[in-house]
């Protein structure tokens, strides 16, 4: 008897770190690890936009600064719109392989959704997990389909036939090819998951911190979703869902409050876990090419473009900085000669390891304003115009230096001008933030021109024309190799 017990113990399954999931607690931990982004850095693709410029390499002691050279080489294929930027002849940083990274997270969501019925726990806990996983899956698919597919309402695009991305909705792995679903199928799935997640989260889950998702965030993402879907009939829903969140979460950070005594500007990020403006934060701050170790003998190869910094009202001096976003949204780079340049984003909180990705209330005002402006463009209904201006002014007022000077609201009557102003405001507010500019350029059918100086000191101009097929990013070569059913985007 003792022998059989000790024998059983001797042969009891043992592993240092492995376990079989048994409870909702285990699945919650698994979700935190494998369904949430959890520290995974994801490329922002700012280097493809007009927010980034290239600076020639300066020779120091007869050679370029090594880290700058490496950074220049890493950023060149994307910056020069090389159609083979994600092929094997170029080094793809792991964070730029957003395709693989996001599908790895989708796997986490699918495994948990499939496994929920096999673990013990209350229905409330299970629904909370289900709601979070559905939201996350929808978030990832929306990112994938906007990066690797054409826009839903793009010129000459039929969503029923245009290529989206393959929809994987179960944890079952199979061999063989996996074809791309149509744009419509992917958008419909995102919509379905979000509409299902919202009530589940509302009833079962209240996050205790901004790193976990909530029902309000779900509505916020729905407003982004309909804005991206972009047909005129989607604008009502953009407004509806933005409003739904703004009813609960409407506070904007007043940047004027950041300015210290003696007009001091010290780093103070807008993405602060304690800030009421922040709906959700996940990891990562900069694009890889902006993480170079700097050397004040020369400008880094890729910095904030002059075009972007020219968008901001610089004010009149230290007593009125004008648009404070210019001061607070960019980390400056001071060269040995003392000249300051905006270098990369400063939206992250100093000394905090979390980054600048997620969702802010400011975007909801911009989403709603753009939707109103679009409606105004179509219908000419002035209530839409005033609603759009109200949202824009609310946002701008919190961003301007109002310590000594009152904010002057903007007032635009021309529908096209209002729509353009919405776009410009969106660029100013969401600059260098999680892919916004790239998708906005794509939505709005705008092009990009880059001036590039290579390591050989030859300067040339590269253009990404409006509505270029390259806006649907080439699928990385390793993905193409592994999936024989994929069709590459035209490039």
């Amino acid at each position: 008897m003792t022998l059989s017990i000790s024998c059983k113990k001797f042969l009891e399954e043992y592993s240092q770190e492995e376990m079989r999931p048994g409870s909702t607690g285990d699945l919650t931990s698994l979700m935190n690890g494998d369904a949430y982004p959890n520290g995974v850095s994801i490329e922002t693709f700012d280097v493809l936009t007009d927010d980034i410029q290239n600076n020639p390499l300066v020779q120091v002691n007869g050679a370029p600064i090594p880290t700058y050279l490496a950074s220049l080489q890493a950023g060149t294929p994307m910056f020069t719109f090389n159609p083979t930027m994600f092929d094997q002849n170029n080094t793809i940083s792991t964070s730029a392989n957003v395709y693989t990274r996001l599908y790895t997270k989708i796997k986490g969501c699918n495994v948990i959704i499939d496994y929920l019925d096999n673990v013990s726990g209350t229905a409330k806990d299970k629904n909370a997990i289900l709601g979070q996983c559905l939201f996350l899956r929808a978030y990832y698919y929306l990112r994938l389909v906007t990066l690797y597919g054409q826009m839903y309402n793009g010129a000459g695009i039929n969503p029923e036939t245009a290529l989206g991305v393959p929809l994987v909705l179960s944890s079952q792995v199979k061999d063989g090819g996996l074809p791309r679903n149509s744009l419509k199928e992917v958008y419909d799935q995102v919509e379905k998951d979000l509409l299902r997640a919202e009530p589940l989260l509302r009833a079962n889950f209240t996050p205790t911190n901004v790193f976990r998702v909530s029902a309000d965030l779900c509505n916020a993402l729905l407003s982004r979703f309909y804005l991206y879907k972009g047909r005129n009939e989607d604008m009502d829903k953009t407004i509806q869902y933005a409003t739904a969140t703004l009813q609960n979460k409407f506070i904007l950070t007043s940047l004027a409050g950041f300015v210290g005594s003696n007009n001091a500007i010290s780093p103070n990020g807008i993405y602060n876990a304690a800030s009421p403006e922040v709906l959700w934060i996940y990891s990562g701050s900069y694009s890889d090419i902006n993480t170079v170790n700097f050397d004040n003998r020369s400008l880094p190869p890729f910095t904030v473009s002059a075009d972007l910094s020219n968008q901001y009202d610089k004010g009149t001096g230290t007593s009125n900085y004008g648009d404070l976003r210019y001061q607070y949204y960019f980390q400056s780079f001071t060269t040995a000669s003392g000249t300051k340049f905006p270098y990369r984003t400063a939206k992250n909180t100093v000394n905090a390891t979390y980054g600048t990705k997620g969702f802010r209330v400011a975007e909801l005002y911009l989403n709603r304003a753009e939707a109103y402006a679009r409606r105004f463009l179509v219908s000419g209904n002035t209530t839409d115009r005033t609603a759009a201006l109200a949202d824009l002014n609310t946002l701008r007022q919190s961003r301007y230096d109002t310590r000594n000077t009152g904010y002057t609201p903007v007032n635009i009557t021309d529908a096209q001008a209002l729509y353009t102003f919405c776009k410009e405001e969106r660029r100013r507010e969401l600059a260098l933030e999680d892919c916004h500019r790239f998708i906005d350029l794509k939505r709005w059918g705008m092009g990009v021109t880059h001036i590039y100086t290579g390591p050989d000191n030859v300067t040339s101009t590269f253009t990404l024309p409006p509505n270029s097929p390259l806006f649907a990013l080439p699928i990385p070569y390793d993905v193409m190799l592994a999936n024989t059913g994929l069709i590459q985007n035209p490039r």
Binding site: S15, P66, Q73, N293, D456, V479, L481, A482
Partner: protein, 1172 residues
């Protein structure tokens, strides 16, 4: 197993015997004699186990003469007391005894010495004077004294166990020296399986044995190397010429695709575990092996038998087929190599000392056919003159650097430029002279053994130093062992073995001297004219000097191993025996690697600035590691205990039916505990202390990521419990049937809950044809046996489960707790693979053993086929599933082959012997079913594309159609073969063959002339093809245009240039070459020069004939030996790797390592062996 067999029989009978038996067991003869005479026999079973079959034919003979005939050639003697015949082992006669009895008549005395073929004295040889019917035994110096009949011719018969008896007719000599030679009786050899000791005549499976004396242990680094070409079916491949690294060992090809393919090593019945836990190779998405800082260490920590002193080995047996390995269960799927260690010999203490010194050749440029600096500068000049470009050029060093300064920067004048170029052209830095040496290695080994009939002992002590040819690579080891076996009680025997060893290996970290010496431009200087190290700016942009890099990095490991085992045998009754074997092994590995702050590696990867920055430098504040280097440490202890109990039964019924069975239970527990960590800020030269890292970097105060360095603890425990049964039945030594079955249970996590009962079973049949009555032993054919076996095995690669397994994230990147929310994190360890089943392997083995020409030629022929079905393969799946691949029972594989091994003794005379041993094996490996896989020209060229009906490592090359005479670019035929699927790269590439050899063969040839012997061993490999190392190294930033850092093959001298349009080698690549579209729209590297590297022009045959070693040894004549008070003295010398003959396309480079690794060079050895 000491049991008295006494037959008591009351009635008295006549004392004459009539007997006629051939090849009978001696026990049967005793029974018959007892029946006829009434005399009882007293003997022990151990006596009987040493006997050989008896052939006796006497009619009405006296008891004495009947017994004499019966004991002829037996290692036994007898005495008669009170109608009881007491059987004894022939004891070594210490003194020259008087002749046993002296019948009346005329006789005279003869003396002499008996020696073996190597002129070693043979003590204990029975000398029988036929006419007088007296016998004696030789003393410890092999001398004897016996009376012979005075009437000529008298006859003396010399016999000894394991030797061929010799009959000498004596005329009037008084001194007769005799040489006895080994009996080549293949059929009576014993085979050690680790669980049992079987008579070779009872073995149904496929085994091969080699005696330690047939292995050349001089000038080799590991035991595996010595086994190359020695055993049919065992393929040993060298991966590197450095010391302390492992070899690949494969028994009968590859049979699994995802699990470990290494055979298991067994020493005296105990399975050995590696000092570090098995780590499956991690592949990244591009299919390359991911290696971390710790893998540098792993390479230099040897395998599970590194602790064993090769001088302690008695013999090595490899178990190849399912029937031989079934008793080991699932673990033995890749074969079992069983090592038996030496046991003490009965007799007074015998001391043996052996030592050897060896010196190894340096690697030289002659072997590699690389350019000298003048030729290399000419290439750079051509690049400039023809205006060739590359996407990125680093104009810091070499000709391009000087040109840059002269033409563009204008910092030097034309004269200075010319002086610098002239200096480069004559630099000719010999990197091999600087980084390599001709090292001397030594080995000392002392062995003491002895004992009496109850207790025997063997102990040894060894010390060895092995220095690699690369300066900085060496190993040192000390081994000690003590083995004792004792007959404690009549029916209880005990043997104990203790061994300990310590090994230290020094290797390299982050640098490879061989790689550097073969690749770097010889125009670069190693030293400045003032004798200081000459640094240059490497492609990373930081200052580099290889000597500095080697001096400032280190990789050292210490492995301490202790083993103990106890083997108890208890003979319960005549038929039952109980054995228990307990073993405990423990090994502690302690390894560390480091790079100091002075290395380019630290500048490049951690500091991002040159060494010597001060806090006032802008780089200082931006650096994560402004002061200090990197230090990695791994400690690992392995504790293994095993306990095996078994009961065996042996009985012969009705004289002809022998039944044997063994049932046992085995428990094993292996425990690994380890810790590994990386620490930054290491200051080797400042008391091995550590500097404090800055908390934040850059003016934006980013948190220093190096502070978050997470150590890793390994805690692995593998418990297994197995039940096994093996049984055999033999009929009249003619037909032998065998069946074995084993089932294991383990504590492995994520087991297949529905498949816990998974026995491995195998059975076999052997027909000893030579023992058939109708078989007439003729002159040319004296032995013949046929074997066949069949086995079935199910197997699963560890760490794969059909269930969802989650785990705590480990490693640097992940953390088990969310840093932001404090919540715990888990990650997926194993996705649920619902319909995953165990792998199935069935195997069939057929063998024929034969002896020809009175045992002058003996050998065996084997054929085997092994079919693996439901093999678990990693199937690449679309990355959209979130995993790069999944496990499926997708593969089927067939291995079949034949093996021939033979020993010949073409000449055997008193003074001259010539013997030859030969083994050949051919393995054919065929993938019969594949799943979906990565289909690209790269997988096709690298042999990873499995094509049904082609062997596993089949590969393809681009069809090279010559050089475009207009621009020197290589041209290719990329047309799709008619009817082929253009999606497959096989449609436009050419099938070249396979990477693995078809046929391997080992040949050993030994000659002896008097005291001089000569031995040699050769290794032949036929078939197998390879791509040569690329001439132009294509990389993403250079398009194949040589950089100033690179040296090039001299073959490039005959490249296309505008003035040499009829060249054999394409022109230097020009960077603006566009990519070439392939018919299948492949998106991986598509440059013409990339294709050229993988074209038909670059394929060579890997067929080679290698001489592994040649040795000469000389045994000093006895007169000399006596003077220096030794028993035996021999001197020898040899050379390892004297020559290789292979395809001339290799240009002298060793094909085994022609693709980057360091070749083995010639080693000369001198050895001395003394015994007292």
């Amino acid at each position: 197993m000491f049991a008295i067999f006494a037959f008591q029989l009351g009635s008295s009978k006549a004392q004459t015997v009539t007997l006629s038996k051939s090849n009978a067991k001696i026990v049967d003869v005793f029974k018959e004699i007892r029946k006829q005479t009434g005399y009882d026999f007293v003997y022990t079973s151990s006596h009987i186990s040493e006997t050989t079959p008896v052939t006796i034919n006497v009619k009405n003979a006296s008891l004495e003469s009947a017994l004499a005939a019966c004991f002829k050639d037996q290692p036994l003697s007898y005495s008669i007391k009170n109608k009881t015949i007491i059987i004894k082992s022939k004891t070594v006669t210490q003194e020259m005894g008087p002749p046993a009895s002296r019948p009346a008549g005329k006789y005279r005395m003869v003396t002499g010495r008996v020696a073996d073929t190597e002129n070693r004295s043979l003590p204990g040889v029975t000398v029988f004077s036929k006419e007088l019917n007296v016998k004696t035994a030789t003393d410890k110096e092999g001398r004897y004294k016996i009376d012979v009949s005075a009437q000529e011719p008298a006859t003396l018969i010399f016999s000894f166990v394991g030797m061929e008896s010799k009959q000498v007719s004596v005329s009037n000599q008084s001194v007769i020296d005799v040489t006895l030679s080994m009996a080549a009786k293949e059929m009576e050899e014993m085979v050690v399986t680790g669980y049992q000791i079987l008579k070779k005549a009872d073995v149904v499976g496929s085994v091969a044995t080699i005696q330690a004396k047939d292995l050349n242990l001089n000038g080799i680094n590991t035991l595996e190397q010595a086994l190359q070409g020695k055993l049919a079916g065992v393929v040993v491949t060298n991966t590197s010429g450095m010391v302390g690294t492992k070899q690949n060992v494969r028994v009968r090809g590859t049979s699994t695709l995802v699990g470990s393919q290494e055979p298991i090593w067994v020493v005296d019945g105990i399975i050995q575990e590696d000092p570090l836990p098995f780590k499956a190779q991690e592949l990244n998405t591009a299919g390359n092996i991911n290696s971390d800082n710790f893998d540098y260490l792993r390479t230099f920590v040897g395998n599970s038998i590194r602790w064993l002193n090769p001088n302690d080995i008695q013999d090595i047996t490899v178990l190849k087929d399912a029937s031989a390995t079934a008793i080991y269960g699932v673990r033995a799927a890749n074969g079992v190599i069983v090592i038996t260690t030496k046991k003490g010999q009965v007799g007074p203490p015998s001391i043996n000392y052996s030592t050897n010194f060896s010196i190894t050749d340096k690697v030289t440029y002659q072997k590699l056919n690389l350019m000298n600096s003048k030729e290399r500068v000419a290439v750079s000049r051509e690049i400039f003159e023809r205006g060739l470009t590359s996407p990125f050029v680093n104009n810091n060093i070499g000709y391009a650097g000087a040109l840059n300064e002269y033409l563009y920067l204008k910092t030097i004048t034309e004269d200075e430029f010319n002086t610098r170029v002239a200096a480069m052209e004559t630099a000719n830095t010999n990197w091999f002279d600087i980084l390599f040496r001709a090292p001397v290695s030594t080995n000392h080994n002392l062995g003491i053994s002895g004992g009496n009939s109850n207790t025997r002992y063997y102990s040894s002590f060894g010390y060895n130093t092995n220095n690699g040819t690369a300066i900085g690579n060496d190993t040192k080891g000390i081994t000690g062992s003590l083995a004792m076996s004792s007959q404690v009680f009549k029916n209880l025997s005990l043997s104990i073995r203790l061994a300990a060893s310590k090994n230290t290996t020094n290797g390299f970290y982050q640098v490879s001297p061989y790689d550097y010496a073969t690749k770097v431009n010889r125009a670069i200087a190693a030293y400045n004219p003032d004798g200081e190290l000459s640094f240059y700016r490497n492609s990373s942009g930081y200052m580099f000097n290889i000597i500095n890099e080697i001096n400032e990095t280190g990789n050292v490991n210490n492995v301490l191993t202790t083993n103990g085992s106890m083997d108890v045998n208890y003979q319960i009754s005549n038929n039952f025996r109980f054995q228990t074997l307990f073993s405990y092994n423990s090994s502690a590995t302690n390894g560390s690697t480091y790079a100091t702050e002075k290395t380019e590696y630290v500048s490049r990867t951690l500091r991002f600035a040159e060494y010597g920055i001060s806090p006032s430098d802008p780089a200082y504040i931006n650096s994560k590691l402004p002061v200090g280097g990197e230090f990695n440490e791994v400690t690992s202890t392995n504790r293994t205990f095993g306990w095996r109990n078994n009961l065996s039964f042996n009985k012969t019924f009705g004289r002809k039916h022998t039944v044997g069975a063994m049932f046992g239970i085995e428990t094993n527990s292996t425990n690994y505990e380890g810790y590994q960590a990386t620490a930054y800020g290491y200051l080797r030269d400042r008391g091995k202390s550590f500097a404090t890292l800055p908390l934040t970097v850059t003016s934006a105060k980013t948190v220093n990521s190096l502070l978050v360095s997470i150590p890793r603890i390994t805690d692995r425990r593998v418990n297994t419990m197995g039940l096994y049964l093996t049984s055999s039945y033999s009929y009249a030594s003619r037909y032998v049937f065998n069946f074995s079955v084993r089932n294991d249970r383990s504590n492995r996590f994520g087991q297949f809950t529905n498949e816990k009962f998974n026995p491995v079973w195998a059975g076999g049949f052997r027909w000893n044809i030579a023992n058939e009555k109708w078989f007439e032993s003729s002159n040319w054919l004296s032995g013949l046996a046929l074997r066949s076996s069949f086995g079935y095995q199910r197997n699963i690669a560890a760490n794969i489960s059909p269930d969802l397994i989650i785990k705590l994230p480990t490693g640097q990147a992940a953390n088990s707790t969310d840093a932001l929310t404090g919540e715990s994190l888990l990650t997926i360890g194993n996705l649920p693979y619902g319909d995953l089943r165990w792998e199935q392997t069935t195997s069939l083995n057929l063998g024929l053993d034969w002896n020809l020409f009175q045992n002058k030629v003996n050998g065996s022929i084997e054929y085997y086929t092994k079919r693996g079905r439901d093999l678990i393969t990693t199937l690449p799946v679309p990355l959209e599933y979130g995993v790069p691949n999944m496990y499926v029972n997708g593969g089927s594989m067939k291995n079949e082959g034949y093996e021939v091994s033979a020993n010949f003794v073409p000449v055997r005379t008193r003074n001259f012997t010539w013997s030859v041993s030969l083994n050949t094996s051919k393995n054919r490996n065929l993938v019969t079913k594949t799943g979906a896989q990565v289909v690209s020209w790269r997988t096709a060229a690298s042999g990873q594309l499995n094509v049904e009906g082609q062997p596993v490592s089949a590969f393809y090359a681009f069809k090279y159609t010559g050089i475009n005479p207009a621009n020197g670019e290589p041209t290719f035929d990329l047309s799709v073969a008619p009817g082929a699927d253009p999606k497959s790269p096989t449609s436009f590439m050419q099938y070249m063959g396979k990477l693995d050899p078809d046929f391997t063969s080992g040949l050993g040839m030994n000659f002896r002339y008097k005291m001089l012997s000569f031995s040699s061993s050769f290794y032949l490999q036929v078939g197998g093809k390879r791509f040569l190392a690329p001439l132009y190294n294509y990389a993403s930033n250079n398009s194949g245009l040589p950089t100033e850092y690179e040296n090039l093959s001299r073959l490039i001298l005959d490249r296309w240039t505008p003035s040499n349009t009829g060249a054999s080698i394409p022109a230097l690549p020009n960077g603006s070459l566009p990519s070439v579209a392939l018919p299948n729209n492949d998106q991986t590297y598509k440059n013409l020069y990339m294709f050229y590297n993988y074209s038909t022009d670059r394929v060579v045959s890997a067929t080679s004939f290698r001489c592994n070693n040649i040795n000469v040894s000389y045994t000093l004549p006895e007169s000399v030996v006596k003077k220096i008070k030794c028993k035996n003295v021999s001197l020898g010398g040899g050379v390892s790797n004297p020559f290789v003959i292979n395809s001339h396309d290799f240009n002298g480079v060793d094909p085994e390592v022609a693709y980057g690794g360091q070749p083995r060079t010639r080693t000369y050895t001198l050895n001395l062996n003394l015994s007292f």
